[in-house]
Symmetry: C2
Subunit: 188 residues, 2 copies
């Protein structure tokens, strides 16, 4: 038996993306975003409130990094979501996180997050009152060696988290339950 | 120590979205998509190859449903990804899945997937050679009663899966590791 819940902004799994960009004065802006994903080969698409300090910095620098929040840094990831850079100008410093300049784009790579996409903005468009869509090309992927197996990202070492908008919870990824481009062949 | 992996189409967690639309002759087209997410309040954004049979049906009907693949239907979800509706016109029938017409949009609701967004297309744009971006409004969310707790979607009952593009694996969501809009306050 199915039930209608009405129009809701709900999807599973939603990512926990940590966006970072340089402010005009060179300080780091960073925020937590759940509305986004892959847009095309080597491209991401992320939707943001236009009034975030980080959104303004991304628009000004035409560059950002997108880090994947991992279970080990859930507190820091959530802090970047609840604290506003408009209210607390030294928000990033207070997080205890550290950043170094990307060698590929004009944006900071946060060292504590083990997987980071270094991105150059392709377009920023207003999509509704107060919301912009940022489309950005992935120029390089920077990964901590600790999450690699045979030179490739290992999801179990990365230990990424997902955001559940209903229970306001962060969850880690669990066991492998299937093989893509393979399991479905049984039905062919 | 960080390592540069170059430009890669990688993000965690990626969803396993089952898109369904009616073909011109009334049959069901369905496919598996990983490139998408929430675009705005009550809106999704999904990027697709323009040559998929389902993409053409979505464009013609200006409607689709987006179901969340769950661990119980990994084989069916993968089948909808590996089998092409251009090659096998009765692809959906062979899946063993069943669909009924949405009461809200001109698209089929697949009964076996416990969570489905019923969507009306807002825009379809070419974003690169052979790739389109579908932006669609979520008109209604249809949920199987079995995944609800106190009338709300319960992530542990839904048991959604995520796609790992590196290992070509499907993974379920694991344990809760934090509380959004809460844990981060410790750093404020």
């Amino acid at each position: 038996m199915r039930k209608d819940l009405g129009a809701k902004t709900i999807l599973y799994p939603m990512p926990v993306l940590i966006l970072a960009a340089y402010r005009e004065d060179g300080r780091v802006d960073a925020m937590n975003a759940a509305w986004g994903g892959i847009a095309d080969t080597n491209q991401v698409c992320i939707c943001l409130s236009s009034d975030h300090a980080t959104t303004k910095s991304i628009a000004a620098r035409k560059a950002l990094t997108v880090s994947v929040a991992d279970a080990a840094h859930t507190v820091e990831a959530d802090y970047l979501g609840v604290c506003s850079g408009n209210d607390v100008p030294d928000k990033f410093e207070k997080s205890g996180l550290h950043a170094v300049r990307s060698e590929n784009v004009d944006a900071p790579v946060i060292q504590e997050f083990p997987l980071t996409l270094e991105c150059r903005v392709s377009s920023i468009d207003d999509i509704s009152e107060g919301t912009v869509r940022v489309v950005a090309d992935i120029v390089n992927v920077s990964a901590d060696e600790g999450i690699l197996t045979d030179g490739k990202v290992d999801i179990s070492k990365l230990d990424p988290i997902t955001y559940d908008t209903v229970s306001h919870g962060y969850f880690r990824i669990g066991e492998r339950v299937g093989n893509a481009f393979s399991d479905g062949k049984r039905l062919m």
